[in-house]
Symmetry: C2
Subunit: 149 residues, 2 copies
DNA sequence: GCATAAAGTTAAGCCCGCTTAACTAAAAAG
DNA sequence: CTTTTTAGTTAAGCGGGCTTAACTTTATGC
């Protein structure tokens, strides 16, 4: 029996509790905006990766070009996404969050952040320091992994 | 300017990268099983919270009793969920994961765990130790928060 | 230049989730 | 014991996501 739990177990327990909470939070928030999950996910994608084309969306979510086009169209009509012509390729479109889309996503993040801030407010300063350091390590490792994959 | 990033920023960056990755992973996995997201989410709920009734499902996902009943019915027909009579209240049902449902959810977690294991394999033993300790702190805080809420 | 491939749109049709409404059955309240 | 509330199911109907198929427009390969 080890004194502190092995890394894999810590990660798993954290993942269980964190995932359950944050998935619920996101779906709840998405619903409150009136957007469907697929629509909302596209906004998230644009937030995370920046501008892209329609086929990038269809690849990311593993749906047909037609489906992506229709979903994007609804977001354009709702003024969440701007769909401009690509100057380099006149077949392609450049999708981007509008200010409205951007602020909606930010509001979602802020809700999530509030939860996490409450979490940290329940920890003492020593714990806070340890956690901050560890998360920086994890984030760096995760980003490195995404890039090489 | 502080030497190490403040806790809130570490949490936020970690959340951004982790959420994006794991949400995608889960939706991808759910789709690969042939289940819809609502159906899959119910299995997740049963995994996380254990047995419950139909109205617990409708409350959790903020849908009508009728919708919950229909969704559950599909899961019962697919042999993912067992729907038994509640011995204490013959109006109510007791929903539970079947072995098939349980192993499906576990397969999903294992996929997620694999990603996290690869993450830890990229860190040295000192980093591993720090991370394990920090996540244990976080998990404890999160569980405490859920209970008092 | 001409054929082919690629980016995106549109329309028809299917399945699914969800709601409301009407219903059954059992527990709780009085 | 009767009334009301609670748990759950069923059916009709709406709207949304997704697919295939047909099409337009622009870029690419030979």
């Amino acid at each position: 029996m080890t004194k502190s739990p092995p890394i894999s177990q810590s990660l798993r327990e954290w993942m269980d509790v964190f995932m359950h909470r944050s998935m619920h939070g996101w779906t709840h928030f998405a619903k409150s905006t009136g957007l469907s999950m697929p629509q909302f996910s596209i906004l998230m994608q644009l937030h995370h990766k920046g501008a892209c084309g329609v086929s990038d969306v269809s690849e990311r979510f593993d749906i047909s070009n037609a489906a992506a086009s229709q979903l994007v169209d609804k977001l354009v009509q709702g003024d969440y996404v701007e769909r401009a012509e690509d100057p380099n390729d006149r077949r392609a479109k450049v999708l981007q969050l509008t200010p409205k889309g951007k602020s909606l996503i930010e509001a979602g993040f802020n809700e999530r952040y509030r939860w996490m801030d409450e979490l940290t407010s329940r920890m003492n300063s020593e714990e806070n320091k340890k956690v901050a350091e560890a998360l920086a390590i994890l984030t760096k490792a995760a980003q490195a992994m995404e890039e090489t994959k």
